[in-house]
């Protein structure tokens, strides 16, 4: 039977021990503490203005050459889709070679479309959404794909076993097998350019400013301002992946 004095002593000792034990075991550097509480002042995001896109495909060409994606193989980290909505309700959509060479023919899905049959027609650039909750990362059995503190999802080529789970898990179909490295491949948001203060290769190549990249944690960033103050949409919101590529002028026919 413990008396009150004994009980209080034990309680005090226990509290002190619980409070100090973590600190006694390991002293953390300030950067580690910051990492532990998930603090980072950069979160890369993307803004696509579909009104401005003309489907020239310079973004696709630049991406493939910048990131050493085999040029003549039908795989690409980013692509542009064309949607042509006809007056009879049909929706035609295509992306020849991912629009690497742009859209130089009026023919869509082997259909010659007359101008007066079109209600609306537009181009939609697509790339990795760098989701806040990336389903592709969750399914990796070996920890080869991961999300950086700044939100960019990368693939560790030396660790990837090429099982393809992530390619299946991505609802946006942005992942593919790299034919040379034989690992999963995806858009890196040109992280090697972003960390040097440059824009991504596709953003730089776009003549019309249809693609923009910015830091979503900086409220003075022009991209963040547009996302916060204008009407933007994301692709497949219902999947709960929290995509961080925002679209201006997104149409319901876009999937």
């Amino acid at each position: 039977m413990t008396d009150r004095r004994e009980f209080l002593k034990t309680l005090l000792r226990g509290t002190l021990l619980a409070a100090t034990s973590a600190g006694v075991i390991k002293f953390m550097k300030p950067s580690e503490v910051r990492a532990q509480i998930e603090q980072s002042n950069v979160r890369w995001g993307f803004l696509v203005d579909t009104y401005k896109c003309v489907g020239c495909g310079f973004c696709v060409k630049a991406c493939k050459l910048e990131n050493e994606v085999p040029y003549d193989v039908p795989v690409t980290r980013t692509w542009v889709e064309r949607y042509v909505i006809l007056k009879d309700g049909r929706v035609l959509a295509d992306t020849p070679m991912g629009a690497r060479d742009g859209f130089i023919s009026a023919e869509v899905q082997e259909t010659i479309v007359k101008p007066d049959e079109i209600t609306k027609a537009f181009f939609v650039p697509k790339l990795c959404n760098q989701c806040d909750k990336p389903p592709c990362v969750q399914v990796c059995p070996v920890g080869a794909t991961y999300q950086r503190a700044d939100g960019v999802v990368l693939v560790d080529r030396s660790w990837c076993i090429g099982c393809g789970y992530c390619i299946m898990a991505c609802p946006y179909g942005v992942r593919f097998f790299h034919p040379v490295y034989r690992t999963a491949e995806k858009c890196t948001f040109c992280i090697h350019r972003l960390v040097k203060g440059m824009k991504t290769a596709c953003v730089d190549a776009c003549p019309f400013g249809a693609r923009q990249v910015g830091n979503l944690k900086d409220i003075n960033d022009p991209v963040t301002k547009v996302i916060l103050t204008e009407r933007v949409g994301v692709l497949k919101d219902e999947y709960g992946t929290k995509p961080q590529v925002y679209y201006l002028g997104l149409d319901e026919t876009v999937r």
């Binding site: 009104y51 630049a62 050459l65 742009g102 560790d156 660790w159 290769a201 730089d204 190549a205 002028g249």
Partner: protein
Amino acid sequence: MRSHVWRPLFVALAVVGLILIARAFVVPPDFGVYERGFMYGYHRRSNEKEWEQFKVKYRGKQYCMDCHPDKYESNMSSKHKVIQCENCHGPAIDHPEDPPKLTVDRSRKLCLRCHTKLPYPSSLRGKLKGINPEEHNPDMECSTCHNPHKPDMEGWS
């Protein structure tokens, strides 16, 4: 209990022990859970640096301007100022060291990326000046008549 009952247990423990020892050697030391937690952040830390050190190939218009100010000026005073030099002249990489000469894409197809007339309402493409590639001098290079650096001018001067 008899030893033959315990022996499989010891074997199992030894196997587990061996796997743990092997793991300590095979898994790189910087493999761990970082900022994004176990679900999204379990990775080899040094891979982030490896990606950051990837070679930059597209250098941008300012890089070209340093040595070719005349070309830069003539381009920047035209409607084609929105187009990057490297969209037609290939990525600079380490030009002029490597490659010493850049390839120029003078093909019709390059111009047609924007200038095939596609009458698309609700898209900027519908507003760009365009041609029907099958009717407008189909066998000629565009640059025979049009100066790509200064397209406003009719022909070269």
